[in-house]
């Protein structure tokens, strides 16, 4: 029965400490200058934390296949939006106009 996904309370506590360590890691990593690598490092840690929360706090790990598809769907749509928007703005740098001339009113 899917109701009785009796996850031991210990799992939640372990997950919490993993999240805290990742939080400290992201703060420490941002104190150092890795050049262009700072953003990918911060995003990688954030995505790992999200995976921990979704899989273990929100129990998608123990959900039915349909639940997993629904959960993944939202993030997949977000990836579509980001990928297609940024493909424009990152490839065609003049879409925004030159940064030296455009001022916010």
């Amino acid at each position: 029965m899917s109701v009785a996904h009796h996850v031991p309370a210990k799992n939640y506590v372990i997950n919490f400490f993993v999240l805290m360590i990742l939080m400290i890691a992201t703060v420490v990593a941002a104190r150092f200058d890795f050049g262009g690598a700072n953003l990918p490092i911060a995003l990688a840690i954030a995505i790992t934390k999200t995976a921990c929360i979704v899989l273990f706090f929100m129990n998608v790990r123990y959900g039915s296949p349909l639940v997993r598809v629904f959960a993944a769907g939202g993030f997949f749509w977000l990836c579509i939006m980001l990928a297609f928007t940024l493909s424009d703005y990152l490839l065609f740098t003049n879409v925004m106009g030159s940064p030296t001339t455009v001022a916010i009113p």
């Binding site: 029965m1 899917s2 109701v3 009796h6 996850v7 309370a9 939640y12 506590v13 997950n15 919490f16 999240l19 805290m20 939080m23 992201t26 703060v27 941002a30 700072n38 953003l39 911060a42 995003l43 840690i45 954030a46 934390k49 999200t50 929360i53 979704v54 706090f57 929100m58 959900g63 039915s64 349909l66 639940v67 629904f70 959960a71 769907g73 939202g74 993030f75 749509w77 977000l78 939006m81 980001l82 928007t85 940024l86 703005y89 990152l90 925004m96 940064p99 030296t100 455009v102 001022a103 916010i104």
Partner: protein, 229 residues
Amino acid sequence: MSSNSVPEIGPSTPYFAGHFEDVDQKIESDILGMWLFLAQEIMFFGGLFTAYSVYRHAYPDIFQLGADQLNYLMGAGNTMFLLISSLTMAMTVYYTQHGQFRKQLLCFLATMIFGSLFLVVKYFEYKEKWDHGLVPGLNWDPHTVDFAAANLTSPPENLKLYFILYFTMTGLHALHMVIGIGIGIAIFINMLLWKKYGPNRYMAVEMFGFYWHFVDIVWVFLFPLIYLI
């Protein structure tokens, strides 16, 4: 407790409305419906994150200068409060499923308290921005910002852009926290006065937990993007 004794909290038999075949179908429907709601929340915040990415790419020095105006220790403390509240929320669901009344109440109360602490820190952050004149449209006089040292390649007024995004994104997140605490108080009253949620009826608590964890996830991305880099 064994499954055939009457639990001290919640209904004595598994609860599901008449249009469901059984309790499993009810639970699956609840979870799927909640994920659909969260999917539109992802798109809602995703639009703002997309705008953030586009403008950050266009004005990298402005975003660097903006992040330097924030106190990252306050942001880290707030991250900690939210992670603790997520743990106590997960434990609330656990104790509801196991029918432990006192622990259920205490964990849920802790969730609400740590959520409120987050908002208290947020208040002091916003107040500091107001005192430094960093609120676009209402109080814009950035006298504490050292524009000369930043060697900007775009006009200094563009710092407004960073703070427009800062207030919109953290403000909407804080609004979600306020709504969460409001719904949480209603759930807490149901728990305390009528012992409404127990092993046979816990989906309302678990679905509230989904919302709470989701708001935590939004902050997990907001914190590094706005404060750290």
